[in-house]
């Protein structure tokens, strides 16, 4: 007599340690195999876009910190670029270099978290994660020196950054940049060639370039699929047109490639920071904008940056008041999540968590 079997639906999350925040996956399994996946999100919805409509332009900077809370600096940058486009102003040169530099520091911190949690999902019991935390801690220390906070930075303002660097920042940064290659090397020699990592990630959940483009994913997920698309190169903002860096591109779009691309981007970010430290010159860091300003009625602007997770964009529409009429946020994590079903169906339960980790989503940004 054959044993009667039927598919089984399981909720992973919203309170689950491996879902990276309050995120729920409704998965239908046939044994270990995934038949159907439905991502459910919205548990962390705070109404950022609506809140922005009743705050002044400078106050909204504090809201952008809380989108992708492991890369606040880049969120600030994207928002400030949008407002500067809205006003038609350009920040001073030193502010551009400073912004580029701190954004790259933040990218390193964010990628370290992404890699660390990805490897933790693989079951590395936290060693690479703790290595990542150690390096990130030093970056957060630099940020504390710079702007007084570690996570919710609010460092940038429309028209520049709020303050110049304190005098002891530069020696500290130099010190950090000297230590960085060793610390990244420690992670790399531990996991890049590790056979368990290779077996578990190579060829798992590949994303074809066509599918990547159709789902409009961006950032490391897109580049891992073999498409060299980076807004820092395609549409340089701030000081990116004056710095030299490569865009690492994966071959197969599998979990290993997504991990590998992040790892390589850390090296490229370090390259950019070195160039920023070399080229930065004294000068003003902020335009003489008032704290409360009114853009032209009907003015609209679309500012985008290559955030650590992908393309982060702000669409701003002004009605001539002190706060925007509409502030639309295009968050990379949400759009990158749209490929979840395509990536997961047909794979096993154990790969599901790893694939989710390789997408490096951040719920603060998905739900906004």
């Amino acid at each position: 007599m054959p044993i009667h079997t039927e598919p089984m639906t399981i909720n992973v999350g919203p309170q689950h340690p491996s879902t990276h925040g309050v995120f729920r996956l409704r998965v239908t399994f046939d044994g270990e195999e995934i038949l159907e996946v439905e991502p459910v999100f919205g548990y962390l919805h705070r109404g950022t876009e609506k809140l922005a409509e009743e705050r002044t332009y400078v106050q909204i900077v504090t809201l952008t910190d809380r989108l992708d809370y492991v890369s606040s600096m880049i969120n600030n940058q994207g928002y400030c670029l949008a407002v500067e486009k809205l006003l038609g102003v350009e920040p001073p040169l030193r502010a551009k270099w400073l912004r580029t530099m701190v954004a790259e520091l933040q990218r390193i911190a964010s990628h370290l978290m992404g890699i660390g949690f990805f490897l933790q999902d693989l079951g590395t019991l936290g060693t690479p994660l703790m290595y990542g935390f150690r390096t990130r801690e030093k970056i957060l220390d630099l940020f504390e020196m710079l702007c007084g906070a570690r996570i919710t930075l609010t460092y940038m303002r429309p028209g520049g950054v709020f303050s110049d660097t304190p005098p002891d920042f530069w020696p500290a940064l130099e010190n950090f940049m000297q230590e960085l290659p060793t610390e990244i090397g420690e992670i790399e020699q531990l996991v890049m060639e590790n056979e368990i990592v290779l077996v578990r990630t190579k060829g798992v959940s590949p994303l074809s370039p066509e599918m990547a483009i159709n789902c409009s994913v961006s950032g490391p997920v897109l580049r891992a699929s073999g498409i060299a698309w980076d807004w820092r190169k395609m549409e340089p903002y701030d000081a990116y047109e004056w710095v030299d860096f490569d865009v690492p591109v994966g071959a197969n779009g599998d979990n290993y490639d997504r991990f590998w691309v992040r790892m390589q981007e850390i090296h490229q970010s370090a390259r950019i920071i070195h160039q920023c430290m070399e080229h930065i010159e004294p000068g003003p860091v902020r335009l003489d904008l008032p704290l409360v300003f009114r853009p032209e009625p009907g003015a609209e602007a679309y500012g985008r940056v290559e955030a650590s997770k992908g393309e982060l964009a702000f669409y701003m529409l002004s009605d001539g008041g002190v706060s925007p009429y509409r502030c639309k946020i295009r968050s990379p994590s949400l759009i990158n999540l749209t490929v979840t079903e395509h990536l997961l169906v047909g794979w096993k339960l154990a790969d599901m968590i790893v694939t989710l980790g390789s997408l490096d989503i951040n719920m603060g940004e998905v739900d906004r």
Partner: protein, 218 residues
């Protein structure tokens, strides 16, 4: 070759066995915050405050409550209100520092501490008396004049209200901030402009040279 990863991993363990730990055992050991650290509780100098409520208007969360009435102490200047209520709801504060940025008279500063936990939300509201009596260890956040004077709030000495203003900055001399300080404090010794020149004397933290440095907004 299988097994090499294991050997490599164990070598890392062996290497780290002899290293000093990176972590800090918090209550016993403490890390030093940087001078710009945006902490609690706020440092407020009543002598400098005019009751303009810029901080309250600029707070993104609206957690600063200020009630003023026409003052009898400095009606001639017409720019100082009598402060009745100055409440900051620390429980909802996100320490963005925009109130400090908005303060035109350098009366409000971020604090430098971080250990103000309470058992109820009611106790998290800092009232005017508490702000008056608190130790003045202002953070140098958004106050480059303190930074160029080399002030570090974590070294322990409190700052007097006369020493914290940006009127000691050369680029700020032509502006009015702080010019009314002498008369507002009730000492009333003559021309307020002269008082500003006093503050500008080079012995004040030796910042006369540093003050010209291109820092901050112009």
């Amino acid at each position: 070759m299988y097994g090499m990863g294991m050997v490599k991993g164990l070598l890392v363990t062996l290497k780290n066995l002899t290293k000093r730990p990176f972590t800090v055992q918090y209550p016993e050991e403490r890390l030093k915050q940087h001078p710009r650290f945006r902490g609690e509780e706020f440092v407020w100098y009543e002598e400098r405050c005019t009751g303009c409520a810029s901080c309250a208007k600029f707070c993104p969360l609206g957690i600063i409550k200020i009630v003023t009435s026409p003052s009898e102490t400095a009606p001639a200047q017409g720019d100082k209100y009598l402060l009745e209520v100055f409440d900051i709801d620390i429980a909802r504060c996100m320490f963005c520092g925009l109130c400090v940025e908005a303060c035109p008279y350098d009366a409000l500063f971020m604090g430098s501490g971080f250990e103000q936990s309470q058992y109820s939300r009611k106790e998290m509201v800092i009232g005017i008396d508490q702000l008056r009596q608190a130790d003045k260890h202002p953070s140098t956040f958004f106050r480059p004049q303190l930074e160029s004077a080399g002030y570090d709030p974590h070294q322990g000495q409190p700052l007097h209200w006369k020493d914290v203003g940006r009127e000691s900055w050369r680029w700020h001399q032509h502006e009015k901030a702080g010019m009314r300080l002498e008369s507002a404090a009730g000492s009333g010794n003559g021309d307020p402009i002269e008082a500003v020149d006093d503050l500008n004397s080079p012995d004040l933290g030796g910042t006369a040279e540093d003050a010209g440095a291109p820092e901050q907004t112009q």
